[in-house]
Symmetry: C2
Subunit: 346 residues, 2 copies
Amino acid sequence: MKAFLATPLDLEQGRVDLSHGAGGRAMAQLIAQLFATAFDNPFLAQGDDGARLPHCAGRLVMATDAHVVSPLFFPGGDIGSLAVHGTLNDVAVMGARPLYLSASFILEEGLPLSDLSRIVRSMAAAAQAAGVPVVTGDTKVVERGKGDGVFITTTGVGVLRDGVDVSGANAQPGDAVLVSGPIGQHGMAILAAREPLGFEASIESDSAAVHGLIAGLLDAVPATRVLRDPTRGGVAATLNEIARQSGVGIVLDEATVPVTAAVAAACELLGLDPLDLPCEGRVLVVCPEADAGRALRALRAHPLGAGAERIGEVIADKRCFVQMRTRLGGRRMIDWLAAEALPRIC
Amino acid sequence: MKAFLATPLDLEQGRVDLSHGAGGRAMAQLIAQLFATAFDNPFLAQGDDGARLPHCAGRLVMATDAHVVSPLFFPGGDIGSLAVHGTLNDVAVMGARPLYLSASFILEEGLPLSDLSRIVRSMAAAAQAAGVPVVTGDTKVVERGKGDGVFITTTGVGVLRDGVDVSGANAQPGDAVLVSGPIGQHGMAILAAREPLGFEASIESDSAAVHGLIAGLLDAVPATRVLRDPTRGGVAATLNEIARQSGVGIVLDEATVPVTAAVAAACELLGLDPLDLPCEGRVLVVCPEADAGRALRALRAHPLGAGAERIGEVIADKRCFVQMRTRLGGRRMIDWLAAEALPRIC
């Protein structure tokens, strides 16, 4: 790699151009000086078209997510950390331990290299904090006006925990529904980053890797039935998916659904429902009622689950309705949104 | 899924809108009616955030590629089949048997659903022909003018063959260099699809999944040292990478490098070197000289390797130069291009 270090990238003033995706010297330089340096690990350092990984015992889990969030930087994170958390969480809610990540970048010509560098370093820090290396990657460049700064697709591979069987199809009437913390922060953080909403308090994204939180929960309650991260479509869409997959109904108690005062105020101002706003560091849990107390204690024992609450229960309902008992004692339907509510939120 | 079939997508006249990526009903409909139908397999049908896969014994290999080819459709393939072949080949050239693919789509608002449907069906057909299922996926939508129709990132997971150790770092002085067929067809097919070049003959992309070809080669020559698919940057960039990784030089014989008459003519017209043009269904092979004959026979025994040739040899050279003995008896340097030659070719 020495030859490339002789002509360093200008990470302060430089910009991405089409040569950075063309397979020649400029691309090799970008890979060596930016990606390989930030993601430094022995698998990536093999320098081949993919990564050779150790022997793997167990049932594999694989999940992938494209990240197109706009803006690229927001309070509590950026597209780089989000791309790590989003996919790790998809692996973790399958009941698996995430082991490896791949990362593929689609860069728009003209993107400041300083932005790319900041994103890649944030991504590397998130991967390191999570203990999951980025073992292989790819970079393409599209012409100005054919992309939007940077899109990042990550894919995660993990190994299923023995003795655990979680799926959206496993909820049973009588089960308890829990959430690991206040909802809607990620969605509101992105909306606020797009245009000033006139609040005093800044709302930070909840973006975080929840596999440690989930490991603690599954240690305590191996009979956990469903784990889901309520991302796009928020808690409302995720619970509707679970209800449909399991062929059950779900009833929430409005008074117990955790929402921070700042998110509640912003939602009121914008006419949004916190249940529709994506989270990127929360987990929805369905478990047998008898285990609910233990599950709640296990969640609260982890820093990311300090605000965990029991928010409802699963009922028999062939129509698969998700409903909410309101503070006033009524019931309302929690539908998922038919139209787009929040494009490019993750 | 029945509820969604009641309101079918208009795959003839419809277009992608932002709701198709927003996590609500429209996205669920797109997934159920288009993706789940085309990629139909038990892993994808689990309907969770990722795929639970069978027990996997062996050393894993993981590779990822973003595909941004323009135009989306070209003679010999489209972005869908290319996205399958590109990543399967990256897994295969690691000496691994590809097992699973993930697929992540970034759609531009306004993309005709008929185009998306054609691409997804082509992708599914390529995956089925290769015997490798698309087990999990993701879809995002970006606003008009922030993407370009569709970008597809695929990630492949495979298991390393026992007794095989191939890497770009393994070439040794004295080794033979082989290629599995005529070079440059994919690159020239894309260029010709962008604007009429005034040829009589249509040039088809060589896009194909080469894992079967490689399996036959490795059965015959387990001592194979390097396998690479010469994609971006073509044979020139790929050989330069191998030379650099292995710390050796490479000398090609111009007379033996297979190029079809149509590609040669088009290159002459455009002032391009076939060595710089990407292939998407060819393999570069470095093996011990003693095995070269057997390797060539094994390649030629497979339909995708019918045009295989021995094109050069590895020499000791600390400068890691790649050179070519020309038909006139001289030598010229084969550099890789510093500037972008062919943006968005894959």
